[in-house]
Amino acid sequence: MTPNPLCKPWEHRLSRRQWLGSAAGAAAGAFGLGDITTPAFAADLKKKYKQVLFVWLDGGISQLESWDPKPNTEFGGPFRTIPTSIPGVHFSELLPHTAKQMQHLAVVRSLCTQDDAHSSGIERIQRGDPKNRGVVYPYFSAAVTKLLGPNDSGLPPSVWIKPMSGGFIYKDAGFLGPQYGSLAFGDGKPPENLLRHSSVSDQDLLERSQLRTLADKRYSQTHRAGSTEANSFVYDMGLELMKRQDLFDASKFSPRDVERYGTHDLGRHLLLARRMLEAGVTFVKVNSYGWDSHGDNFNGSLSLVRKFDQPFAAIIEDLAASGMLDNVLVIAMSEFGRTPRVNGHLGRDHWPEAWSLVMAGCGVKRGIVVGSTNDNGTYVNSEPYDIGHMFHTWFNALGINSQKTEYNNGGQPLPIAHEGCHPVKELLA
């Protein structure tokens, strides 16, 4: 599917009205897709809307203990490699399940990015590290929900499944405005107090909602539209989610799936992510914390990488089996990789100079490895790719022409990805 090149992304602003329209499935998405694209594009989107699963391994997975092993070299570490389902491609032995899914995956081994600090690196990576134009760029999640527009699932366009606390994370949206933030399910649980109190009847709820709408309308006459829209947006999401509490009911997962994904946080959260994708959420981010293995990296990787491996392989297998992988772009990555050098605490430190990520699905070639590092993994010896190259690639994989599409930030045209970078054609199907 090729997007209409005349389509301008600022026409895609997701208004509360549009979102509610799509949420209700109103008139086969007449509101939901409305002025976003050409009718042909809209019809196609309705049939097969694009989605993203973004698995964020916070702190930095070691490329040497995962996608780019260097066994029996100076910095190769203690582990063996194993063959994958693609002849000639090897992973660390810590990824036995994912190795069997390599036929669905595209591995990039030539990332060379700019930032070696978590505090700034996470933002730079997830915002695509564009040139500084004095604005805060959106995270990839917000960019995707903005550029793809709403679908007819009736669910929040962007959810974030993570350990610890949840809430509505508006800051991710940058200049796009808070309504493009993500709804975070802390510990994989729905927002607190989502259940309607038993003393509130349907009629009560309707009347309360109408009263709130009226108040919003009056408030918006004297205040900036963006903030009132975002406020309403969150309420409306809440109302819709109240109807879909079944999504959070862990008892409805089959025991076999629970076993396949694992009962630890990342397993549970990826299983919930699958359900969210099946229900139609456009962008699902799953965070795993604790990957900053400055100490005891090899024992740490034994549990971290293996606990990633099992549910990640399971969700790839499931998405492929159901056919969803054709329309879901899957990305698993961190803010950087880890040093080849092993420090005195048997840890690896931060390393943006030569690291890896893995992707799969929508618009991406399958069963390939792109780029390489030198024999002991200390530098990229093919064309190095920055995060800007990945943003271009991901947008194009989703059917968005990253070099022609622009944001309109209050009249200021802004590229959606670093204009000094380009899509990696090798990766695109």
Partner: protein, 373 residues
């Protein structure tokens, strides 16, 4: 020999043996003439301690500037190849000329040390499925015990490398093991802090020692594990060591040893050493004078070695300056010397000149000390 109340003077540094790469473990030969090191370069390194060489005579001016006495240099002998990944452990037979080595890919090799250049006597390529965590020789040297990531505990004949016995049921990721000096029991410790005593006659678990304090789950990371199991010479005290973890990732952990009375299993003492930046106790060895020499290593630049007598509130000696990242300690058969490996080099993620071939790794200098008794 001094009795068990003797407390040694602070150890006197003898020399530092530099290494090119990092080392997992060090051991002296039974005659004390050789020092062996398990390399994280997949090799076994050797030094001849019998023929120390003094540095070339310094000029009078240089002597004035450098008031420190010259340190002996011990010649390095050719290294031994045959392993993959890291050589994780080495052990020397107490009576026969045999070196046993294990690696992180699961290989176990028995080397004859009768020759000037040791040759493999036997070689078991897949003794375990992956990382062999620990090896231990029985007091008579006839049996070798191994444990690994594959959750298996196996016993082998040191004569020919044949498998004698398999012990099943310890638990997840068996980190450590030790023979009781009477040769009838083996103890093994795992990731979750479970220590079990195994009866070698029937392969059954006899009892458990609780060391769960050595484990925590941080997000999805299992942190810790029973890193060390060791007996005193008489077999009356079992030391169980590792750290009380505080976090994953960086892995902050407070070095910790639990001492148990072997006869009734009662806990004698829980000993905390240093701070939570000092990480894991990586090795303990028992001195014939009745105290333990231990090493710990935590965050880069942190770590120490210490002397402790069971039951006393604190170690009676710790290195006056912290020694960075001590990973192994070996006691010389004479009891008059010991060696500790630490870490030298750099950590951090600064931009490298790797493209120009400049990207040094870290190394493990071996510090040799004399015990003044």
């Amino acid at each position: 020999m001094p009795n068990e109340t003797t407390k040694p003077q602070p150890p006197k540094p003898v020399t530092i043996i530099k290494t090119e790469r990092q080392i997992s473990s060090i051991r002296f030969s039974p005659d004390g003439k050789l020092l062996f090191a398990a390399g994280r370069d997949g090799k076994i390194h050797r030094w001849d301690l019998s023929q120390p060489q003094m540095p070339v005579e310094e000029s009078a001016d240089a002597k004035k500037k450098n008031s420190k006495p010259s340190e002996p240099v011990f010649p390095e002998l050719p290294s031994l190849s045959g392993h993959d990944g890291w050589v994780s452990q080495i052990a020397l037979h107490p009576k026969s000329p045999l070196l046993v080595s294990a690696d992180t890919w699961g290989r176990l090799i028995g080397w004859s040390t009768a020759e000037e250049t040791p040759k493999p006597l036997w070689n078991v390529p897949a003794a375990h499925d992956g990382w062999i965590r620990q090896i231990a020789l029985s007091a008579d040297g006839e049996r070798l015990a191994t444990c690994g990531l594959d959750q298996a505990i196996r016993l082998w004949s040191t004569a020919d490398g044949k498998k004698l016995q398999e012990i099943v049921g310890q638990g997840e990721d068996v980190f450590s093991l030790a023979f009781h000096p009477d040769g009838k029991s083996l103890v093994a410790g795992d990731l979750k802090g479970i220590v079990k005593q195994w009866d070698l006659a029937d392969g059954k678990a006899v009892r458990e020692f609780d060391a769960k304090i050595l484990y925590m789950l941080s997000f999805i990371q299992d942190v810790g594990g029973v890193r060390v199991l060791a007996f005193d010479i008489a077999g009356k005290t079992l030391a169980v060591a590792g750290a009380k973890p505080a976090s994953g990732g960086f892995v902050e952990a407070l070095p910790l040893v639990k001492f148990f009375n072997w006869s009734d299993g009662a806990e004698i003492q829980t000993l905390n050493i240093g701070e939570k930046t000092e990480g894991f106790v990586h090795e303990l060895t028992f001195h014939p004078d009745g105290y333990w020499i231990g090493v710990c290593s935590g965050q880069p630049g942190r770590g120490r070695f210490f002397f402790h007598r069971t039951g006393e509130p604190q170690p009676f000696f710790t290195a006056d300056k912290q020694m960075p990242n001590c990973h192994s300690v070996a006691l010389h058969p004479s009891g008059e010397r010991f060696a500790v490996i630490s870490n030298a080099g750099t950590s951090g993620q600064q931009k490298s000149k790797a493209r120009e071939g400049i990207y040094p790794g870290n190394s493990s200098p071996i510090h040799l000390f004399e015990l003044l008794r």
